[in-house]
Amino acid sequence: MKRFEYVRPASLKEAVAALNMENAHLIAGGMDLVPGMQDNVIPADRLVNLKSVKDAALRGIAETPDGLTIGALTTLTEIAEHPAVMKMYAALSQAAGVVGSPQIRNVGTLGGNLAQRPRCWYFRNEEYDCLKKGGARCFAQDDKADNQYNAILGGGPSYIVHPSNAATALVALNATIHVTGPDGDRDVAADRFFALPRMRLTQETVLDPGEIITSVTLPTPAPGSKSAFVETAEKAAFDWAISGAAVSVTMSGGSVSAARVVLHAVAPIPWRSKDAEAVLVGKSLTEATIKAAGEAALTGAKPLSKNAYKVPLTKAMVRRALVAVV
């Protein structure tokens, strides 16, 4: 691994200041960052350890009148197993609970999960100087590519899929992401936090240089709300989803009054399908409605040479997520 400088800031202010340099990175659990450095694909000259920051806002899960606030350093295991999360935000608990493996969940944090870099294997191999790394070409979109894991929606000029489980659930749950940075604090709605490659090619979020995720707030669910996250992977653990979906549905008087349908691992960002949501609102969750929502969710899908299977698979994921909230 290349040599780097290691900084232990005591406050968020110091952390922000320490990030004011090219190739400076926050490190939280390190589950994503360190392997990327070892593989020579994430250039790092300075690591800023977020864990040395004392600020209480970064830690723990607190119930407030507006909902539930989760610090950025909270581990995925803590989130998955928290009683209030399990009860009111099932999609997040389920999404966090199936990340990687127990070891990864015990160390990986919410902030790191949201800000993690893509897993596209051209990105992760140093031999491939692709667009995401500032190179001239997207390898995944080539017909000769092995793009079975890449995007079917929202792609171009990069075709990554966003890897974060938590991200998909947070968009479905209409969460707010709290950020601090050189210009002070700001709040970003989860469905505006992730950036398509055509907006920002070499990063996956709207974070500006030096910005830090401090916490996330989940609004108190409306009465009659339920949510769910489902995914499918090749292996039962230590693997990445090849497709998935998170849904959040509010029922009133037997029909859907509000819905969010978010597709996982099929687009460069958690892919909110307003078409599918429109199919659901005003209807009861019958088999036919659920099926129609699944179909609608994949409108506009443009598979690459080897990932057309994701279209029927993702329809099934949407159906299963909806069945889980019936």
Binding site: R3, D39, W121, N125, F139, D142, Q148, T232, E234, A316
Partner: protein, 709 residues
């Protein structure tokens, strides 16, 4: 001929359960592997690798690296042609990882390359006009087999059922958890070298290192107390070992050089791929014709052989097979080389023909299997699977998640020879065995203790076992499932010899002749009068300061070769996601005389796991655009993990007849039938056949779409 094994019914340890002698030190981390060794002032070795799939090295300049403070030795490969990405080009030894990494970067940056056209997939390599993997005019295709037997065309014309299909298997890498490599300590005072190797054959490492550094074999000591997996890829000193020794000699210091995970994937061998177009026919319940046009790749120079029609008898055969060369790392022997590829296709053929004939899938196999043991095993398997209640037809379940059953079979050689051992019995009653064999994770250390304890009629913990050292009596490499069948007989003979030597020394005290003595349950007694007895300790006390010390070696009659296995799996297929979950696997294995039930079962469990991993997940993927492996890691080179494991039942075939055959090694055969059984169960569950390994969700979905179209 040796004194035969005593009947299994009279055995105390052999055929029973003995926990691994080194189980505790392994799980607590006290067991030190080559990877853990760090002698005093040890340097760190690192390789510079080729960044192109096919290239000529025009120049290399190591002066900047050599000038870097802390760099102690540099090695440069003499060749200037490199035929795969990741090939070793140069190496350094330095005082720390960081300095070694810096030196590697300096050397890598100094090289000028001329890149050459490349081809990394066997389909591409076979096209007319494809770039030559070897450059120039040399063809990428070499005919390997062309056999004709009987009259295939007549048999097809006369058949009741004919099937045709193209089965294919991926390249599988060994993915040993402990990387390849060594720690070499140069002893300048004696011009000698000590090597801690992660190896399947300490003596072959000694031979290789002695040649590489120009020392007499007497000056080379190779040690391997524990090793973390080889599966056939860790024989001889290999490039990484030779380079480590050369760097150590050059630096006159210890050097540790173990490969990275990426290098493990690209440089240490693999199971070749296969692509098998097959047409086969049957009549009156018997296979009548088999024709195949096949090819596979073993990398840049390696062959890709596999047996078909494998273990079933077919009178009329036409078999054509080519080796295809691509710009990728070479194959190496891997757990039952060739057999899983042949078995996967042939078991598919058997099921397809059975369906077409309307025959029972197990009965059809029994009808066509020349091996009586396996026929009996198939009947036993049918009982265990409750076969009479398994639906005859495919796709019997109506829901989205469908259940299926599949079977497969294996044959293997095994067998033993060549091992020697030494045993000392001391006046305090302690017993020491020395044998140069290595324990590659199969439990060989425990086997030595079990056999010695059995023959001496002592408890297991009375035996001190020393193995994995070239200063001990020689034993062959651990390959071909031959270790147990080589070592166990050698230990038996040695223990018998030691016991007789002890009897000769103590017979006077019993007032009898040595042949009238026997060891019984921790004592020595006379055969004709069991009351004339002395405890083991008291008898040994008569020896005085000079211990009994004898040698022995493997003798005929104590081991055999040739073994049979069958496998049955039960699984579910989620027809909406393509997800396959293997729920249960049975593996019935003949192993002759079983030395230790626990470690033989452990071999079977491990093999079934590796077989399922091959069937469903593992795949070395070479990128056609730039020619590198895109998944040289354990994230995207997917290996089955704990939650993917089914319930596995290892079943040892323990007929009296089989036990009487002596020891037969079985490290390899149980991996063979698994992939075929899994693929057959997927087909049975959902009606769609995936012809291509691994059986991923997208291939299942595509096959279902094809089946429903």
């Amino acid at each position: 001929m040796a004194i035969p094994w005593k009947p299994a019914s009279q055995m105390t340890h052999i055929t029973k359960n003995t926990t691994r002698l080194d189980g505790v030190v392994k799980v607590t981390g006290k067991a030190k592997y080559a990877y853990d060794m760090l002698p005093d002032k040890c340097l760190i070795g690192r390789f510079v690798t080729c960044p192109h799939p096919n290239a000529r090295r025009l120049s290399i300049d190591t002066s900047a690296a050599k000038a870097l403070p802390g760099v102690k030795a540099v090695w440069v490969e003499g060749r200037d042609i490199y035929r795969f990405s990741g090939d070793f080009v140069a190496a350094v030894a330095a005082i720390s990882d960081d300095v070694a990494d810096d030196a590697v970067t300096l050397i890598a940056d100094s090289i000028t390359w001329e890149t050459l056209p490349f081809v990394v997939r066997e389909d591409d390599a076979r096209q007319p006009g494809a770039p030559g993997a070897h450059g120039g005019d040399r063809s990428n295709v070499r005919e390997a087999t062309n056999e004709n037997e009987g009259d295939v065309d007549a048999a097809f014309a006369d058949a009741q059922a004919v099937i045709e299909g193209t089965w294919s298997t991926q390249v599988q890498t060994h993915t040993s958890l402990e990387p390849h490599g060594m720690v070499c300590e140069w002893n300048d005072a004696q011009d000698a070298i000590t090597v801690w190797a992660s190896t399947q054959g300490v003596f072959s490492v000694r031979e290789g290192i002695a040649q590489a550094v120009g020392l007499d074999e007497s000056k080379v000591t190779v040690l391997c107390d524990y090793m973390g997996g080889g599966f056939g890829s860790k024989f001889g000193s290999r490039t990484e070992g030779n380079v480590c020794a050369l760097l150590a000699k050059d630096a006159k210091q210890a050097v540790k050089l173990l490969l990275t995970r990426k290098q493990e994937q690209t440089n240490t061998g693999n199971r070749p791929s296969s692509n098998q177009w097959i047409k086969a026919a049957a009549k009156d319940g018997k296979l009548t014709a088999f024709q195949t046009n096949a090819f596979g790749t073993g990398g840049i120079t390696g062959g890709a052989g596999f047996p078909t029609p494998y273990l079933y008898s077919v009178p009329n055969r036409r078999v054509k097979r080519d080796d295809v060369f691509i710009n990728a790392g070479n194959q190496a022997a891997m757990r039952a080389p060739g057999h899983p590829q042949g078995s996967f296709a042939m078991e598919g053929v058997m099921d397809e023909l059975a369906y077409k004939l309307g025959a029972d899938r197990i009965e059809f196999r029994i009808n066509n299997d020349p091996n009586a043991t396996r026929r009996a095993q198939f009947r036993d398997l049918a009982e265990r699977l409750d076969w009479k209640n398994v639906p005859k037809e495919m796709n019997a379940d109506k829901g989205t998640v469908k259940r299926g059953w599949g079977v497969g079979a294996a044959t293997w050689g095994g067998g033993g020879g060549g091992t020697q051992a030494e045993m000392d019995i001391h006046q305090d009653g302690s017993v020491v065995v020395r044998c140069g064999t290595q324990d590659i994770g199969t439990g060989t250390r425990t086997v030595v203790a079990v056999v010695a304890a059995e023959q001496l009629s002592l408890p297991i913990d009375a035996i001190q076992v020393n193995i994995g050292n070239t200063n001990f009596p020689p034993s062959g490499g651990s390959g071909g499932s031959t270790t147990c069948a080589s070592v166990a007989p050698a230990i038996k003979v040695t223990a018998d010899n030691a016991l007789f030597a002890l009897f000769e020394r103590v017979a006077d005290a019993f007032d009898t002749s040595p042949d009238n003595l026997e060891a019984f349950n921790g004592s020595i007694r006379t055969k004709d009068d069991p009351s004339n007895s002395m405890s083991w300790k008291d008898a040994c006390a008569l020896l005085g300061a000079e211990q009994v010390s004898v040698r022995g070696q493997h003798e005929g009659g104590l081991s055999s070769s040739g073994t049979a296995a069958v496998c049955g799996v039960e699984l579910t297929v989620d027809t909406e996601t393509g997800f396959v979950r293997v729920e249960r696997a049975y593996l019935i294995q003949e192993a002759g005389l079983i030395i230790n039930m626990l470690t033989v079962e452990s071999q079977i469990i491990g093999a079934v796991i590796q077989g399922i991993s091959y069937a469903l997940y593992e795949d070395r993927i070479m990128d056609r655009m730039l020619g590198h492996q895109v998944n040289p890691n354990m994230e995207f080179y997917k290996v089955l993990g704990a939650p993917d494991m089914p319930h596995i039942e290892p079943i040892m075939w323990m007929t009296e007849e089989s036990l009487a055959r002596g020891v037969i090694g079985i490290g390899e055969p149980p991996v063979v039938p698994v992939a075929g059984a899994v693929a057959n169960a997927v087909r049975h569950a959902c009606g769609a056949r995936v012809y291509d390994l691994p059986i991923t969700p997208w291939k299942v979905l595509a096959a279902l779409e094809g089946a429903n179209a």
